[in-house]
């Protein structure tokens, strides 16, 4: 699964820390997601989408073969 959290953050101009605080996880978790090292739970994905005021599919997409 790929995501464009980093891009969305740049558009909204918010730091990893601020995003982490607003969805209730540690900054390392946001970092790991941006690097593709961690696939978030549905709950966290929904919270991130809410934070960016968009839908989950806009931020998280399946990759080929998934």
């Amino acid at each position: 699964m790929k995501n464009n959290i980093k891009v969305e953050r740049a558009i909204k101009n918010i730091t990893q820390q601020r995003l982490a605080d607003s969805v209730g996880v540690s900054r390392q978790t946001i970092n790991a997601m941006e690097l593709g090292k961690y696939v978030p739970s549905t709950l966290l994905a929904l919270k991130i989408a809410r934070c960016f005021e968009t839908s989950v599919e806009k931020i998280f997409q399946l990759e080929d073969g998934e």
Binding site: S26, T29, P40
Partner: protein, 159 residues
């Protein structure tokens, strides 16, 4: 996600604090002279008791030095508090690292036990069993701490 069995984060510091005296006592009982295990015996209740080559007795009172019992219980409690207190920033990613570290610790622990079973015979095997009492927790704490450290350093500083 909704339920876990972890202790509150503040218990972890308490666990590290207890680890020092109980850890030292544990090592003293492992490597120290046997005579320290017989100092100051007190009467204790025994659910089951057996002196070597004698009849097993149930629900009896016996005489025993309780330092080794206190040490082992103290050490287990302190390791449990360290291992299973929440991190200050516990979230789902850290929970996943916790789970992976626990699986790793279990596999390594039983790997070591199998090797010891194959290659250690006679009396030294009792020492293997003695350390095996706390091995899973020790391995887990070490692995989990290393993984958390790597996570925090890899995440680096934000631009």
């Amino acid at each position: 996600m909704t339920k876990n069995y972890l202790f509150p984060a503040r218990f972890q510091k308490f666990g590290w604090f207890l680890l020092v005296p109980f850890g030292l006592m544990f090592l003293l009982f492992a490597f120290g002279p046997d005579s320290i295990k017989e100092r100051w015996p007190i009467p204790v209740f025994a659910l089951v008791d057996q002196v070597l080559f004698q009849k097993t007795s149930w629900f009896s009172f016996t005489s025993n030095c309780v330092f080794d019992e206190v040490t082992l219980i103290g050490l287990i409690v302190s390791l449990l508090l360290i291992a299973f207190s929440k991190e200050k920033d516990e979230d789902e990613f850290i929970s996943q690292i916790r789970l992976n570290s626990l699986v790793w610790a279990l596999l390594i622990n039983y790997g070591i036990l199998i090797l010891a079973e194959l290659f250690v015979y006679g009396f030294p095997f009792l020492n293997v069993l003695y350390f095996n009492l706390i091995m899973i927790l020790v391995l887990f704490v070490i692995k989990f701490r290393i993984e958390l450290y790597k996570l925090k350093t890899n995440a680096g500083n934000e631009k």
